[in-house]
Amino acid sequence: MSKTIIEKIITDHTSDNVAPGKIIWLDIDVRSARDFGGANVVKNLEEHYPKESKIADPEKTFFTFDCVVPANNLGYAENQQIVRMFARKYLQRKNLYDVDAGIGSHVMIEKGIAIPNSTVVGTDSHLNILGAIGAFGQGMGDQDIAFTFKTGKTWFEVPESTKITITGKPARNSYAKDITLGVLEQIGSKGALGKSIEFYGITVESLNLSGRITLASMVTEMGGIIGLIVPNDEVINYCRERSNKEFKVHNADSDCEYSEKFTFDFSELEPRIALHPSPSNVKPVSEVAGVKIDSVVIASCTNGRYEDFEVVAKILKGKKVHRDVMMKIVPATQEVYGQLLENGLIKIFYESGAIISNPGCGGCASGQIGMTGEGEIQISTGNRNFAGKQGKGHTYLASPATAAASAIKGEIFVPEIV
């Protein structure tokens, strides 16, 4: 029978019959928890399995701290310490990515822990970002994750699939984030509810790994389970080099069944921005140009890669951030931080007046680099702008280019071509 990509990945990880709507036992290659939820995972394991083994396979089990790093409140500090002590007891040191490491999902790609066709679970609702390399990542609750630590498997209802094809060359000042917001503008916050999205078309295929991560990272905001992009040579070589492993790369069968198909022509798509209070409240940047802003954040699992900061550096080089704007820069991982340092980008950011933070989730988990006050308007390169998520202010979501150009102007500004 012909299969979609998600059905093929699941088939490789179960002995049950796989079809949309079926509940199956799924073998999990990578089991993880972060500082958010991690302490509850530990609590569940200790409560339910007090006198027996708690970890099916320590090699495949990880903790990744990224939400509030280092902890800036007692609750997080205590939870991180609970997890740290548990990890020291049951795992090898290398399987604990502590507060210095950066965003867990990105670390897993960089370290070759997640590879194409692998199954990965954790307590991060954006773990489905791994669809960017053709892996199945999924965020789950602390009980489900504790069970997975213990047994190496979880159960899952096989989702139906939605096919999204994107063609056309966007305007030269538009980037992967603008394409992503463009899709959200078209399908809305429930457009892929409960579905596995497969992305196709020349516009998607020509995205590099960083751009693919941006697109896959906002499938959660479309209501989707995961957004899968078939790995190209760049992604395959990267993952092979990082993991030293061989892996299957699945394509969907040509006659497989999709519950829905969308085709979008994004020729000359102009830069997009998502206004308060939802990621699908998308407008062309030009429509809101001129709105005064107070802060800018370049960060997150959506836009915290080196390539994102490269664009920002090109725009900021030799210029100053507007005196009424706080500009915050948070690399996704320690590796990205190192690249920024080595290639002189930190110097450019420093000279422009930006604040540079250690790696982590940045503003999304409301804490690492401060929050917004009532009345504050913030442009973020992140993926969520729900009321109260990052403070009492309003957050707008945009590309690194739009965010950087606006930081200089002190108001929302359509980026020039760089």
């Binding site: 049950d16 199956i24 399995y49 083994s53 504790a146 069970f147 047994t151």
Partner: protein, 179 residues
């Protein structure tokens, strides 16, 4: 000990005054948030449907072993486990619904509560007090009054049977790792 895979029981059908099934019963109607501080399962039963109009007396009419029959999108809303556990508390053996909220379904399966999906069960000629015989593995629902096949539900998956037999997800975890 193996638990039965054929369930017999008296049914309670959740309908409104006009005799139609009630869709979209959310977790606040099932177990209101003012009782969320309760953590002992034994104490949860008396609040079941406490916020569902005309069904506030449900805990008094429900008996151990009863089968609950509900409409579409049952258990929509929050992730509270109490909305499942309050029925466990009353001894409800099985919930047959036209469809379930996704989180509710996950919570029910993890706690070993039996759920079955039968898309048109509300249209069948059954009433509260009738008795049914339900085969979990084939999905066959037989009306014990007439001895006729009433409907065929989606059979339970291996996952549901495994967790149900063990008691709950964590008990299942112990069982498979030891064996």
């Amino acid at each position: 000990m193996t638990k039965p895979t054929v369930i017999k029981g008296k049914i309670i059908i959740i309908k409104d005054n006009e005799g139609s099934g009630i869709d979209d019963i959310d977790t606040d109607m099932i177990f209101h948030n003012k009782h969320l501080h309760i953590t002992k399962i034994e104490e949860m039963g008396k609040y079941a449907f406490g916020n569902l109009p005309d069904w506030e007396k449900f805990p008094e009419i429900a008996s151990k072993g009863d089968i609950l029959v509900v409409g579409k999108n049952f258990g929509a809303g929050s992730s509270r486990q109490q909305a499942v556990d309050c029925f466990t508390s009353l001894g409800i053996s099985l919930i047959i619904g036209e469809s379930f909220g996704a989180i509710y379904k996950r919570n029910a399966i993890n706690s070993g509560m039996l759920l079955m999906t039968a898309p048109n069960i509300m249209n069948e000629s059954i009433k509260t007090g009738d008795s049914l015989k339900v085969n979990l593995k084939t999905g066959e629902i037989i009306n014990l009054i007439t001895n006729e096949l009433l409907a065929t539900a989606e059979p339970l998956s291996n996952v549901q049977i495994d967790i149900y037999q063990a008691g709950n997800l964590f008990a299942y975890g112990s069982r498979i790792i030891k064996s």
